[in-house]
Symmetry: C2
Subunit: 384 residues, 2 copies
């Protein structure tokens, strides 16, 4: 049987074997409750705090500014627990948009490449706005947002509020789940006040993540109880998960620059083959500002779902929409927000590359993808 | 070096090796996002749903009535998200009491053995009460509450409300984290409408758990996003954790009756030795209604914290208070609620037994415990 070529790294990444090795002791001998007072438990507590220090160092934060959460979705929900008016974009992850639904929120449109104009964010900010949230990298299109310009707007707005004597805080949050391991996620350089990361997207364990929050923020816990995580997220710690997340982030950061380049080459390799074979291919997302690990494209008249299953039968795994929409049979809200017509959305495929993707994989996969798409396009024409 | 004798199973249980083995594939090959549409991901989705069916079968629920959460604390917070007036007891876990703090809540006192009188619960219920929550087994005293009588009261109150035309719902929730693997946790036999379980207390992974909720309950999600767990708890599933929790519960239930008996004998063995050596030992908690895995006792004049560290130096690990209070330097609220004077609380130790505790362990530990306590009591007298 042919080797499976996995091209859906944006949906889930395999656990790094070094991460698993690091987690292993906490799943066997070091099982103690980190809040217990005896030495073996205090060792576990110390290991958690060292993991927190490592994460903080990588993102340029203080350890007290890092809360370990059960994944990115919880992190996002926790960030928004500060209340007030929210400004976000129409292409955010479901976690942001669902949370926005329960808030007073303004959704800003993006351009046809999926980029939000920082000035549109500026216009949407009202005196009651407390949080602006824009994901760093979109998981469906790979488009990178201009966070630094948005941060500048937030900074200016804060200055204005201060001058006016307003005490309403204003914070910039970003979901950087798809950016970690690809782009610089140093919070001061980005200019963000809160940041969400996801272990499951950086070869770490699922349902691990963090919320970074600037120490000036009066973060309110969502889950209360024993007072763990400085009262911000109660519950006996997921020790193995915390250790695994920290190690995964460390490795992702170490490999970041070489992986960025390597994946950019793989993406270009795939793009070259597809563009050569299909002159009318529609490349989706911002091609100037994109993450190297995501390539989304559409073919007019194609039934992408059929292609997905045809590719699966040849051991190539790709995506058609955001896997996070939990099997809901709806068109991608992200591609809709880009102004793409339904026919194009239904004809779009997302290829996402990762640490185990090789140039040979891309060659092999691209050939099969080209064949399947050609067959499907021909079939489409016959039906018409 | 002498083998460590761990007598703090109520704080944390080691992961069962069979549970870890069951989790392992989901931490390596089966890493797919369960929401992805291709076959390997659908297999993962199927495994999650089979785990849910297994859990549901064990507790006598429908699979749709089981939500997987990141631990018991989240489960408890989720249960209380229905809002309205809450009735609970003064000896609940911090997660319940902290959540009660953010609700309109009435705290009912317990007797000197830690048992709540069901009639006191009845008296505390107002027409606005929506939730009564009483933990099945207290983690500090081992006292078992009379859930069935409380369930009867809830049932009667519901009938009355119905007769009056009231539409305010009334539900009984229990945190059965310390009961699983010891007592029957079949929800219909208990008469509860919601139940919290904790993987970390049943030799499963930390930060795994469930909320059982009767399908008549209009449960409101706390964490929104991609719509996983039927919209009640969004976020890419902790696949390994879900599988591990399910296996842990299956094993705990299989071993329940034999473990109950075995641990009851070990507890009695420890109690016999202690009572023989110390005629004025104070046994804390209800000795008629207690879980076999917890024995809490106090010695007038003892500095329990000194004993804990003296025992640790001889490789015996015990507890003085609830480890869940995250290192806070406060007296146990549970023992305070029993009406125990501060001097007795500071002189109390909790021994908790588990699957790896042997009769030899208890003999060895008891001898050392007796010696250390005698030395400490003698030292106390010298100081006076």
């Amino acid at each position: 049987m042919a080797k499976t070529i996995y091209l859906d790294y944006a949906a889930a990444t395999p656990l790094d074997s070094n991460v698993l090795a690091e987690m292993q002791p906490y799943m066997t001998d070091a099982f103690y409750n980190p809040s217990a007072p005896y030495q073996p438990a205090r060792e576990v507590r110390k290991d958690i705090e060292e993991a927190r220090i490592s994460v903080a160092r990588i993102i340029g934060a203080k350890p007290t500014e890092v809360v370990f959460t059960a994944g990115a979705t919880e992190s996002i929900n926790l960030a928004f627990n500060i209340g007030g008016h929210m400004v976000t974009t129409t292409t955010e992850h479901a976690a942001v948009l669902q949370a926005a639904n329960t808030h007073d929120a303004t959704l800003v449109n993006v351009d046809e490449k999926g980029r939000v104009n920082p000035n549109d964010i500026k216009k949407a900010i009202t005196p009651k706005t407390t949080i602006v949230t824009v994901s760093f990298v979109n998981n469906e299109t790979g488009t990178i947002q201009d966070l630094k310009s948005i941060a500048k707007i937030i900074f200016d707005e804060r200055q204005k509020r201060e001058a006016k004597g307003s005490t309403t805080p204003l914070y910039l949050h970003t979901d950087a789940s798809q950016a970690a391991g690809m782009l610089d996620i140093h919070v001061a350089r980005l200019g963000v006040d809160m940041m969400t990361l996801n272990g499951g997207k950086i070869y770490g364990p699922k349902q691990t993540g963090i919320l970074y929050f600037n120490s000036s923020i009066d973060l309110q816990p969502m889950i209360v109880g024993g007072g763990q995580e400085r009262g911000l997220r109660s519950g006996t710690e997921n020790v193995a998960g915390v250790i695994g997340f920290s190690k995964a982030l460390e490795i992702a950061e170490k490999k970041r620059k070489t992986e960025f380049e390597r994946l950019e080459n793989l993406r270009q390799q795939m793009l070259d083959i597809l563009q050569k074979e299909f002159t009318d291919i529609i490349i989706i997302g911002d091609q100037k500002h994109h993450t190297p690990h995501i390539l989304t494209a559409a073919w007019r008249g194609l039934d992408a779902e059929r292609v997905l299953f045809a590719l699966e039968s040849q051991n190539i795994l790709v995506a058609t929409g955001s896997a996070c929409a939990a099997n809901k049979d709806t068109r991608s809200h992200v591609l809709t927000a880009l102004g793409l017509e339904p026919g194009i959305i239904d004809a779009s495929l997302r290829f996402s590359f990762g640490r185990h993707t090789t140039s040979d994989d891309v060659d092999t996969a691209a050939k099969i993808i080209v064949d399947v798409i050609k067959q499907e396009l021909a079939r489409g024409k016959r039906i018409k």
